[in-house]
Subunit: 280 residues, 2 copies
């Protein structure tokens, strides 16, 4: 899968430079929109960088390694490093190591290298990502049988998104398959991607700012906006990508700014206004 | 799929003959067990029939038409007619006609003839069965896109079973895929198979007895036992087929008789004892 066809939301969190005591901000746009208006988005991206705000891309991308993901973005003209990307697979690897878990992977082929250093013999848990074409009847049954055969089934999901948009239409995301396995095995998955609190905490740690000085922007009301708010951040929803008018979903902490017809440039302009103008 | 490899639970409800004022009773055994001990199960089946108890098979089988299902059972020596089988697909067809719904079918190929008389042009709902190998990534995305594109998505599920057992192991049942679509589309499916109340009411109507005079026997604590109890019937769980020691699940109306190590013959013997001995 190329970055051009991936539509995983790629939110960016931003923090102020030391010289410019402004609130942190974030901006998101899904890659499909970047492809449609690459020069406009690149322009907005550069505007935010030039403003002194720090950016951190918080992605639930689980169809490519971070290295490949960054390589594709760089090829599109975005000056970004792996350290500026927070993604679920590295978080899952940390969790697996901490708890001595050996995963059976039901993930996209291109994500497998992220787990190269993880012992996968005699699995005692299942790690679920957006496996796309690997979500076959046989593969789902295999993951199910492993889980149902465990005394205490452990299901780790790299996200809980409902669906996402690709060039050929909407597609079921990992969350739908997570629900299927949760129901069949009577277990609750541990989510390591958005909207998990520790995922956003990890992004904030990379930025070196507390949550109240960061803004999350995304098109997903639950995974982007809700997750960030649960973590103490403010959030902005843009009405692009997979955005739909209903349901609005949770607005946990009183600052869910949904723009009227936000585009990437509207969103960025919004961010660069004085704090009081958009934080209500 | 042959009956020999199908493991959908096939509960039987039974009622007394007019000449023998005994409580109605039911018995279930999954087909895989029938294959393993065909002569023993046939013997128990004949014993119940000879006792004067009426039998009604309540199956969530959605991998074959009722006609094919009965044909396979008759080939195995069971003297049974289509009228003695209550199944989800005919119930779904009644519902579709009543409400003027035109389904997109995500079901097993062998079940499609059940919907021969139903208008399927320009679908305004999705009917989900145990599609088995038809549960492909592409087919699930297609069903999802249809649902998410509807103003008020209507998802009709022919069952909500978690999993079932086949000769090559446990497999995810329709309920798991139903949960996936429910989550992705933020809808609640309408279940027309077990454990839906109207499904059991339909079986009781076929038997011509009130629920308090019928007994349901099954290996599924939710779909067989729980569903029947919700309908006012007593129920007996046999520890065969897909039975697992946990969770026990709901026992709604105070009469969930779970035998110690019930086999099909134990279960039948149990039924033929005086009422007071097993109803506690």
């Amino acid at each position: 899968m190329s970055a051009a066809s991936s539509t995983t939301a790629v939110p960016m969190a931003a923090s102020p430079s030391a010289a410019r005591p402004r609130p942190c901000a974030g901006c998101t746009e899904d890659v499909i929109s970047w492809i449609r208006v690459p020069s406009a988005v690149r322009e907005q991206y550069l505007k935010i960088k030039a403003s002194g705000l720090k950016l951190q891309l918080c992605t639930n991308e689980t169809q490519a390694t971070r290295e490949n993901f960054v390589r594709k973005l760089r090829a599109m003209g975005f000056d970004i490093s792996v350290a500026e990307v927070t993604a679920p697979a590295p978080a899952a690897c940390r969790l697996l190591k901490e708890r001595g878990l050996r995963p059976h992977l039901l993930v996209h082929d291109d994500l497998v290298p992220e787990f190269a250093e993880i012992d996968k013999t005699n699995p005692n848990c299942v790690v679920l990502g957006d496996a796309a074409e690997n979500f076959t009847y046989a593969n789902l049954n295999e993951a199910f049988r492993l889980l149902i055969g465990m005394e205490k089934p452990v299901l780790i999901s790299l996200g809980k998104g409902r669906y996402y948009k690709e060039t050929d239409g909407l597609k079921l995301d990992v969350g739908a398959y997570m629900k299927a396995l949760e129901y069949a095995c009577d277990v609750q998955a541990e989510v390591v991607g958005k909207p998990a609190k520790r995922f956003f905490e990890s992004a904030l740690a990379e930025l070196g700012v507390p949550p109240e000085q960061a803004i999350m922007i995304g098109d997903d009301i639950v995974n982007d906006v809700g997750g960030a708010q649960q973590c103490g951040m403010r959030a902005l929803q843009v009405r692009t990508g997979k955005y739909r008018s209903t349901p609005r979903g949770p607005c946990h902490q009183g600052c869910c700014a949904v723009t009227g017809k936000a585009t990437s440039s509207d969103g960025t302009g919004f961010l660069l206004q004085p704090w009081q103008k958009w934080c209500h």
